[in-house]
């Protein structure tokens, strides 16, 4: 089973974790990406993510599916936030379940790395002084 979603509501990590449970899996690796209070030496008060929904969902599903096949995963899922987020909020959640830890670590790392370059999402950051700036990105890959 694999799945990917874009969500404008808070990520329920426990609920997503339940979706990747599988009695055949001996290892689960979960990555939680959080909004941090600094970026390139500047203080950050919050973020806003916007996405190209239909393409983001499709690209994300492809990435999760690729990982599931390549590492023979028992289950894999990921979810990415849109909207306004505060420091400490979860921006992305990735979870994979595999027979052994090696595949689980590698597959989880693959999914988050690929999300960053292949899912069309943009990020603006708020500074404590109220100013807003787009966060420099990377060219979208297919």
């Amino acid at each position: 089973m694999s799945s990917f979603a874009m969500s404008d509501a808070a990520i329920d990590a426990a609920a997503w974790r339940r979706r990747i449970e599988d009695p055949a899996a001996g290892g689960v690796v979960v990555f939680e990406g959080l909004v941090r209070n600094h970026h390139r030496g500047e203080a950050v008060a919050g973020l806003e993510y916007t996405a190209y929904g239909p393409l983001a969902t499709r690209q994300g599903a492809r990435i999760v599916e690729e990982a599931a096949k390549r590492w023979n995963l028992r289950a894999a899922a990921a979810v990415h936030r849109t909207g306004r987020l505060a420091v400490g909020d979860m921006a992305v959640w990735v979870g994979v379940a595999a027979d052994h830890r090696g595949e689980a670590f590698e597959a989880c790392r693959y999914i988050i790395d690929q999300i960053k370059s292949r899912v069309p999402v943009w990020k603006r950051e708020w500074r404590p002084d109220g100013s807003v700036a787009w966060v420099e990105g990377v060219p979208l890959e297919s």
């Binding site: 990415h80 960053k116 999402v121 943009w122």
Partner: protein
Amino acid sequence: MPRLTVLWFGPLRDARGADSETLETAAATPAGLWEELLPGRPRSGTAVALDDELAAWADPLDGHAQVAFLPPVAGG
């Protein structure tokens, strides 16, 4: 002329002042449409999608209803 919906994202949305617009164009490709709408603006690092699938700058617009211009992404 064919009617197209154009979607703008990220910094391009600010540059254009809108999330989307519907227009008529004689442009034959996304590259031509970009030059018509944002003349002289470098498109380096920008990707393009036709009807919600990634496409090439030289692909024909003919037969498509929607174009999206996608500046560098910053997810995760």
